[in-house]
Symmetry: C2
Subunit: 333 residues, 2 copies
């Protein structure tokens, strides 16, 4: 019989102990986690960044990744967007009774590998089990601590008129990978989630350009349009976008068209917007392109239409990019 997670694994007794020993400590053990205290002891100094996210993506396994990979990269990236080097993560599971042990181990192994890639340590954690029908396989919370790069000065108030806006990669791949999986769509080439850690790219940007990098934000839930809307809603400036510079992979664009979705509202897991001083525009683009040839300058900051985002199409037409109303893609991350 296939081993499954049951309520006893969440009871705090012997079965919990076994689950921790046989899966968590076996795969994720390190000198800090192994102390097995109620919390981890960390020696850190200076300005820190602290971030949290719960991951409820469905399905939990998809092309290009799984919920465990998302949970590590997502929090690594949130810390990176603060201009920080991510160092330590916490890891908390809410598992639905009946979840196959094999799948749990697969998720944990993926967490291990993703954390190694991003050079972060899992240092503390928690495991809860809920009854069948009170969860959905597995939900994961990761919280993280990073050390802010002393050269960084990332804040929304630093955004100025004429600043340029870049994205590091084509958009909408993660959301459409999940949707294709859910809808069972078949395309000639697979659509693969773009989940990846952005910390090393951000470190390079900040080490090189320092406080000329004014703002960073990863374009996850709600997509590129939503994070740009959050930005213009906080500052008295607007954004001009150039539609043809916002790259979307062909099969992703096809999937969006079939499902009637606008790629600018579709979630990403490895795309971030970088808002930088106009004087370094060419250098920033060159650096981003050295990692991804599809990185591009998608627009700029303007004082002409405060709090509005105007998109200019390849043919010169212009339209307002509205805030996402309603729920386009539930449980995308």
């Amino acid at each position: 019989m296939k081993e499954i997670i049951n309520l006893q694994h969440g009871g705090g007794g012997e079965e919990t102990h076994k689950l921790l020993t046989n899966v968590i400590f076996k795969h994720l053990g390190n000198s800090v986690l192994n102390v097995k205290h109620d919390g981890a002891f960390l020696n850190l100094n200076g300005m820190l960044a602290f971030s949290t996210d719960s991951y409820v993506v469905s399905p939990i396994f998809f092309k290009g990744g799984n919920i465990g990979e998302l949970a590590v990269n997502g929090t690594v990236n949130d810390l990176s967007m603060c201009g920080a080097e991510p160092k330590y993560l916490s890891l908390s599971f809410i598992i639905e009774e009946g979840f196959p042990m094999e799948d749990f181990e697969k998720v944990v192994l993926s967490i291990k590998k993703t954390a190694e890639n991003a050079q972060v340590q899992i240092v503390t954690g928690d495991t809860k089990v809920v009854e069948r029908g009170k969860g959905d396989k597995i939900y994961i919370n990761t919280s993280g601590i990073g050390v802010v790069n002393p050269k960084a000065d990332i804040k929304i108030q630093n955004i100025r008129e004429k600043d340029v806006i870049f994205i590091n990669a084509p958009i909408a791949s993660h959301g459409m990978a999940i949707m294709s999986e859910r809808e069972g769509l078949q395309f000639e080439s697979d659509i693969v989630s773009d989940t990846r850690n952005l910390n090393f790219t951000v470190k390079k940007l900040i080490d090189t350009f320092g406080d000329k990098i004014h703002f960073l934000r990863d374009a996850t839930r709600g997509g590129l349009a939503s994070i740009l809307h959050e930005i213009v809603s906080e500052i008295r400036l607007g954004i001009d976008l150039f539609e043809e510079n916002i790259k979307v992979e062909d099969q992703v664009r096809s999937a969006c068209e079939i499902l009637g979705l606008d790629p600018v509202y579709v979630a990403n897991e490895g795309v971030f917007a970088c808002i930088a001083d106009e004087t370094i525009a060419g250098e920033v683009l060159a650096m981003l392109r050295s990692e991804n040839p599809n990185a591009s300058q998608i627009g700029s900051i303007t004082s002409e239409h405060p709090s509005k985002i105007i998109m200019e199409s390849a043919f010169g037409g212009k339209h307002v990019v509205h805030a996402l109303a309603g729920e386009q893609l539930p449980r995308i991350c």
Copy 2:
């Protein structure tokens, strides 16, 4: 019509923005949280403690508290058990579609009040919404950062033969408050959860006794017996307990008897075990009793039966306290 949380509140668009503005920032706003970045910026130095817990208690409202209060006190207490002064919390919700907005606001207000009592700040957060039947009203993750008291040296390796073991309060109240609620039991006097913040008590202990406080652990899931088992499983020493010193309130004991539960395995939310050098036994007890007259010295560390816990009854009989096998009380925290 009663306002409810729906999937759109988790979509990352306008509705998410409204939920955050009208509930979260309205009640929990502070100078760090209000930056609204992907993470919080914190200026901290020295040895830090970092802890995480997800709360899935059912029912979410119970006598003496609710899931929000538990989520704050639980992580505050985990940090305290590291000898740290809790400073900052993250807060992440997984809400089931259809959860009444009124209840959500009630939980958030309770979080606010509990955080104020414990003198910690909520500095970063996340909100996800899952479909009906994929969650259970609301699950909350809190992670926290504290600064380790420079006088503290709390580690399991510091536990020595003849060390004395204290608890600060009667046991089993939280678990039985939840069970009474679930089973609809009526007692002459209400059973009330013992959820409370332990950080100030711990600070007093450490400020006064320093490294003579060898170990601290709060007796949550699995109860007092389970945390003592975790301890003896990690050290080559055993524990002697005196049954009559382990206080249980009368109505809590009655409820345990009705339900056939042994109070030593029942969850607490405001009880911790303190293991201290025998030379300060009297002083520690006096300090704990100044806060709660039912604080007591429940036992001591022995080399006579390594990895075993032996309970001596009031009549001199002795029995082994076994590790909790199976799940006694699911979703107690």
